[in-house]
């Protein structure tokens, strides 16, 4: 996913990825990422948990707009329970 993200960013469009694994993300070095620490297959958390899904997406979009340092990885602000 990071390679695709980097390609889109190189084309001039700001990008942010939601990431499940810090080790992979640190190697790939995307421009911006929100680290959520959920299991594979669950980047937005549990099914039908609209509240968490919405919060995560809002946080990601806000970071996408506001991050000013290339390569910034942010741990999700709230430890949403899984």
């Amino acid at each position: 996913m990071g390679l695709i993200q980097r390609t889109i960013e190189e084309a001039g469009i700001p990008t942010l990825s939601i990431s499940l694994n810090r080790t992979v993300t640190e190697k790939v070095k995307p421009p911006r990422a929100l680290l959520v620490g959920y299991p594979l297959g669950h980047p937005l958390g549990r099914p039908y948990d609209k509240k968490t899904q919405t919060s995560l997406l809002k946080e990601g979009l806000t970071l996408l707009r506001d991050i000013r340092v290339p390569g910034t990885l942010v741990d999700v602000s709230d430890r949403y329970r899984f």
């Binding site: 469009i13 992979v24 937005l44």
Partner: protein, 170 residues
Amino acid sequence: MLKPAKDKLLASIFTNSPGLVNLWAKKADIVTNTSTPWATAASDILQGPVALVTTAGVHLIGQPPFDMDDPEGDASFREMPSSTPAGALTITHNYYAHRDADSDINVVFPVERLKDLEAEGFIGRIARRHFSFMGHILGSRLERLVGETAPAVAAELKRDRVRAVVLTPS
């Protein structure tokens, strides 16, 4: 054991063991970059258009599924109109357990949450199309991804004048 069955079994083990994923990530031959590309975000980018790109193997029910038999994966992509109802989407991907995402696609591809954010005015406008890949791409397929299909999606996003992209993994 047949390849699809073996892949699904491994996916289930990895999905339930974040520690195992971390161990794999430390040892795996992942492309390691020393710098990052950068496009400065204007303060009004959330006015949109905003697009989603996922590697979770999502596609329209009527589109050809991703190729699960090629051990190097499938570097092709699918485009989906952003107006597509969630019920018209499906997932073809044997390398992660997607039972939860099958029941609620927003778990990997938050299309309905993005619509909610547009409705409440948190973002201005959703892009005309979203895009999907399948993760788990290796070898010559990785070359095709980097050289051909990822740049093609970037070009389509530019064509739609997309100003902000959120990517979600599997």
